[in-house]
């Protein structure tokens, strides 16, 4: 399926990172007219001025209701309908909603021309969700390492251990108590705070 460069696509997304991922993907796929709106301010007037063929919006954006008004006021010209509620393809619909993407197209555009865009958007939304999750994990890991380091420091000071031995003590205690090292480290820190 080759991209149709004449299609005008608007991305409404408050998350600049996700919007950038989408924009890049669409451009790589050969879509030239890709515009991003990151603000709800005067959204309707701006959408009218752009007159897009396709609008892609994050499902958790309240501006969806604003966009639906556009279908009402512009219905004499072109009447857009929500694409993902195309009943003939409930699998795409559900995939889109679950990934958090809402895509609207102008009525009359052939489904074959729109489907690759929507499919790509769904996979990019999912990739973004994974990215966020990984970031979250990294952040947690970093926090955990800091906690363990602090506990090690306390043990080194109080018990005169070197770093390796302090860590071994934490690990052994964790194994004996069937707990995670970070939990043991946290209790060492808490105890040290209390005994101050």
């Amino acid at each position: 399926m080759t991209a149709d460069p004449s299609l005008k696509i608007v991305i409404v997304d408050e998350s600049p990172l996700r919007a950038a991922i989408l924009e890049d993907g669409l451009r790589e796929a050969g879509y030239v007219h890709v515009l991003r709106l990151s603000e709800w301010h005067n959204l309707l007037a701006r959408l009218h001025a752009i007159d897009p063929d396709i609008i892609i919006i994050d499902l958790e954006d309240p501006s969806r209701d604003v966009i639906e008004q556009m279908f009402q006021v512009s219905r004499e010209v072109k009447r857009p309908v929500a694409m993902f509620v195309d009943q003939s393809d409930s699998a795409t619909t559900e995939a889109a909603i679950e990934a958090g993407v809402s895509a609207y197209i102008v009525d009359g555009l052939k489904k074959e021309r729109v489907k690759p865009i929507v499919d790509m958007t769904i996979s990019r939304f999912r990739a973004f969700a994974r990215l966020k999750e990984e970031l979250e994990q990294t952040r947690t890991q970093l926090e955990e390492r800091k906690t363990v380091d602090r506990a090690k420091g306390i043990l080194m000071r109080l018990k005169g251990l070197d770093e390796e031995k302090a860590y071994a003590l934490l690990r052994r205690t964790a194994m004996n108590e069937k707990k995670r090292i970070v939990d043991i480290a946290q209790s060492v820190i808490t105890a040290a705070e209390m005994l101050k």
Binding site: R64, V81, V85, T93, I97, S102
Partner: protein
């Protein structure tokens, strides 16, 4: 225990649904309701459509528009329970209200307010000023029809003399402050939010425009209603019991606190308590405007989905130019409302007092359900 996923929008009139889920009413019927807070009416409709939600807090006109396929792909929905009547208010920018005061009209009355608004708009037109912009929450909403009725009663054409736009409720105060809009009609407590921010004042309560305006319903997919009538029956019973509780004076404090929780509305308890009581501060620090009918959650048969209300909604859609009148569509609109399901579940407990005008139009052209075509001709000034 049957689990149900139900969506809601953070508004005071989600109270019955929230109380039903959180205060044991659902549990008593063998149901466990998992509440999902949603950000837009479009989300509510689409998630009910694909089955991610079993049912939802829904604008009554949205349930009908969806069933008729207006503005979107047709999705047949069923409304077996009316969550409330009324609950909206019209807030205007301070400068606009001041200009209206100078017309000499009595702004304490709905009719005076409508006439004053008409005068100010015509004066602006004469000087070539930009038209005033007003916002509602969704194209198919009681809010839009209230505002249109108010404007029409002031001798204005809502599509020519002013601009009507959609602004999501959490953005209304900011939009008013920045001058993007000059007024809006939304549900509580968003009017109070704008008032407390000092950017506008409440000009009229919705109940001062229509006495019994249908507002939110429980909307479910027709597929669910047909496949699991027994579960729906229990849900309606649970909602009816919750609605009865919500309107008792003993429930007030607890209900306000429940709604104020961050996972529900996340707004100040006092503001919500006042909205539940129908006492709204019209200006920041000013005297409250009070109407016991501001938000009706149970009494007067408010929970029975009256087909006459569905017909009124359909007539407003035609009046707003959203669709052309046909008798078949009028009939289909009425069939979205299911008083039979309500009566079977809740018992024949209460109906609206029989009135010639089922929405109790306070001023302007009254609604005549027996002669919708005649009504439409009158509102169009023919």
């Amino acid at each position: 225990m049957r689990r149900l996923s139900i969506g809601f929008i953070p508004l005071t009139d989600a109270a019955v649904l929230i109380a039903c889920a959180e205060r044991g009413f659902a549990f008593a019927e063998g149901l466990e309701i998992e509440l999902h807070r949603e950000v837009s009416w479009a989300n509510i409709r689409d998630k009910v459509n694909v089955g991610l939600l079993d049912g939802a807090h829904m604008l009554a006109p949205l349930a009908i528009a969806s069933s008729l396929g207006l503005g979107h792909v047709r999705v047949p929905l069923v409304a077996p329970f009316a969550l409330n009547l009324n609950g909206n208010a019209v807030t205007l920018a301070n400068e606009l209200y001041a200009a209206m005061g100078e017309t000499g009209e009595d702004l304490a009355t709905g009719e005076g307010t409508a006439r004053a608004l008409g005068t100010v708009v015509r004066e602006r037109q004469a000087t070539g000023a930009e038209p005033l912009t007003f916002s509602t929450v969704y194209p198919f909403s009681t809010h839009a029809y209230m505002l249109r009725h108010l404007l029409a009663s002031g001798g204005l054409d809502p599509d020519r003399d002013v601009r009507l736009v959609v602004v999501p409720p959490p953005y209304t105060a900011e939009s008013l402050r920045s001058g993007l809009i000059h007024g809006f009609c939304v549900g509580s407590p968003w009017n109070s939010v704008a008032v407390e921010a000092g950017v506008g004042r409440i000009a009229l309560l919705g109940s001062e425009i229509f006495g019994w305006a249908p507002e939110k319903v429980l909307g479910v997919h027709a597929r669910f209603a047909n496949a699991e009538p027994e579960v729906l029956h229990r849900l309606v019973r649970a909602l009816d019991a919750a609605a009865r509780w919500c309107e008792t004076s003993e429930a007030l404090d607890e209900l306000a606190r429940l709604l104020a929780e961050p996972r529900h509305l996340g707004l100040p308890v006092d503001m919500l308590r006042r909205a539940l009581q129908g006492r709204l501060n019209t200006t920041n620090g000013g005297a409250p405007r009070s109407d016991a009918a501001f938000l009706v959650m149970h009494r007067d048969g408010a929970n029975r989905p009256e087909p006459a209300h569905a017909l009124w909604i359909y007539a407003q859609m035609v009046r707003a130019g959203q669709t052309e009148f046909t008798r078949d569509a009028a009939h289909a609109a009425m069939e979205v409302y299911r008083p039979g399901l309500y009566d079977a579940a809740a018992g024949n407990v209460g109906r609206l007092p029989q009135d010639i005008d089922p929405v109790r139009t306070r001023f302007g052209v009254p609604f005549t359900p027996d002669d919708v075509e005649g009504y439409l001709e009158r509102v169009r000034g023919k």
